[in-house]
């Protein structure tokens, strides 16, 4: 009796998601395997032979991977510092981390156009200081996309890490030190393994976010296409819904494969978590 009542509470939401999300997505994926007369993989085969598309796919993967690595390198120490702070200072830094997270991606990407453009702030500063003699062409390159994506997703990694780091008990660290472990060993053997769940979730969010981001590459990438802008171009500009559906399916498959791999990795590194 009780069970039936609970399912009833979720029914409207489930129905809504099924009709307006699950069915459209399943249909989108489904159409990529037919050519109108029967089941075929031709769509995918032409794709996997297309140098232009492979180039876009690998650029996107490389950009997302680099973004994730840079976010970890920048975010891990910052999160560690924040988590060790107490009271007010910690609250302030958390507020300052979450604020950009809630700010429009258009605003954040646009702010980088002012900085890294040919006549932008960075070039003016470097030229002024005599470090370079020709303005750098950063805007509209994969580097610009990476800078924008790191700015977009770094807060996400920091808050994920602060979440797990807060729960590390300091008695544990003191115990390890009193047993003779050096600070470095304590960090490697105690702190790091306990951070794995946050690191995995944070990295998934950053990688998947970067891999599928649209606004930042659209504004900072110029002619440099990534997989999401390529899909948009096919769907809207070229009106080729079949190609767009194939690209959409590839995006879904890679997204879920990455999530599954990272979760498996997390289980291996942290069997209890």
């Amino acid at each position: 009796m009780k069970t039936r009542y609970m399912y009833l509470l979720m029914l409207p939401g489930i129905l809504f998601l099924t009709v307006f999300m699950i069915i459209p997505i399943v249909l989108t994926i489904g159409t990529t395997f037919t050519d109108g007369s029967g089941i075929t993989l031709d769509g995918y085969l032409t794709f996997l032979k297309d140098r232009y598309f492979l180039d876009i796919l690998f650029t996107t993967l490389r950009v997302s991977l680099l973004t994730t690595l840079i976010c970890i390198i920048l975010g891990f120490p910052a999160a560690y510092y924040i988590s060790k702070l107490g009271g007010r200072m910690k609250a302030v830094l958390l507020l300052l981390t979450i604020f950009p997270l809630l700010t429009s991606s258009v605003v954040r990407s646009f702010s980088w156009m002012i900085i890294i453009g040919r006549n932008g702030l960075l070039n003016k500063m470097l030229l002024g200081m005599g470090i370079i003699h020709e303005p750098l062409d950063i805007l509209y390159t994969p580097t610009a996309i990476i800078i924008g994506l790191v700015h977009l997703f770094l807060p996400l990694l920091i808050v994920s890490l602060v979440g797990v780091m807060e729960n590390i008990q300091h008695d544990l660290l003191e115990a390890a030190e009193s047993l003779g472990a050096s600070k470095a060993i304590v960090f490697l053997k105690v702190v790091l393994p306990l951070c794995v769940p946050g690191l995995v979730i944070g990295s998934i969010l950053v990688f998947v976010g970067s891999f599928t981001a649209y606004t930042t590459p659209a504004l900072l990438g110029g002619k440099q296409r990534v997989i999401s802008t390529f899909m948009y171009q096919n769907a809207i500009t070229l009106n080729d819904w079949q190609v767009a559906s194939i690209v959409a399916t590839i995006m879904i498959v890679i997204t879920f494969a990455v999530i599954a791999c990272m979760n498996a990795l997390a289980r291996k590194l942290n069997p209890k978590g």
Binding site: V106, V107, R108, T212, L219
Partner: protein, 261 residues
């Protein structure tokens, strides 16, 4: 101690990277000339006034507000009962249903947008405005459910049982006992979901038609054509709204929601 100071400096640089661009864009919004400059040469508010001269900004702002509010309302109607069921009981298939409700976050936004265009506008033949509203409801739903669940996890369900044992019906108990206790969680959920929807590009970018567009999409279109400080001025206004909402969320339920996964 030495290491801590190094770490503090590193953290300072990270925050400089995160907040510097937002500060720079704010300062450039006061440039009086016609080109974005940092630092601005003549101070002026003229680009703030220009926002109100561009008719499309006004109309898309209205569209965005209406779509976000309507979608929010609908997401609450669908999400509150679901959040309640998911946090109150243990049952078969809970993990799966939980995953279904969170899935709009995991599926690439741009893929969601395209499938809406192809099937909700294309096959189901719903008007673009309705499709826009449905799409935004779907992306708000996970945020509503997650924030309200986190609020419910602090609620002591024995109070509910007490009310029921005193003779209140399930429905009455929910409205008189449960709902008032999670009021601040619901408000926080509404604000977070509103920001998610209001800032959304991935889905909205497919849902534009004759005379229909949303605010962020209009901003993107504007940036493609002009490089004047209007967008900087808009950015400042949006940041003020964001800061206000964040302040409210912090007051209502603290920032723990963001660090909990």
């Amino acid at each position: 101690m030495q290491m801590n100071r190094g770490l503090a400096f590193f953290t300072f640089l990270v925050f400089l990277f995160l907040l510097g661009p937002l500060l720079i864009i704010s300062v450039t919004s006061f440039e009086g000339g016609s080109v974005l400059k940092f630092p601005p040469e003549h101070l002026s508010f003229k680009w703030y006034l220009n926002i109100f001269d561009v008719q499309m900004f006004i109309s898309t702002f209205k569209t965005s507000i209406i779509v976000s509010l309507m979608g929010n309302l609908f997401a609450l109607v669908l999400g509150i009962p679901a959040a309640y069921a998911l946090s109150r009981f243990d049952f078969k298939g809970k993990k799966l249903l939980d995953a279904v409700f969170i899935s709009p976050i995991l599926i690439p936004g741009i893929v969601l947008g395209f499938s809406f265009l192809r099937y909700i506008v294309g096959t189901y033949q719903l008007p673009i405005y309705t499709a826009l509203f449905i799409g935004h409801t779907i992306i708000m739903l996970p945020f509503i459910i997650r924030v309200i669940s986190s609020s419910l996890s602090n609620f002591d369900f024995s109070i509910e049982e007490a009310a029921e044992s005193l003779g209140a019906s399930k429905v009455k108990t929910f409205f008189i006992v449960v709902l008032p206790n999670i009021k601040s969680g619901i408000l926080a959920a509404v604000m977070i979901a509103f920001l998610e929807s209001f800032n959304n590009v991935d889905i909205s970018v497919f849902m534009t038609g004759p005379g229909i567009s949303t605010f962020p999409i209009q901003m993107l279109t504007y940036v493609e054509n002009y490089f004047d400080p209007t967008i900087a001025a808009i950015s400042v206004l949006l940041m003020v709204i964001t800061a206000f909402f964040m302040f409210m969320v912090e007051r209502l339920m603290g920032l723990s929601y963001f660090t909990k996964r």
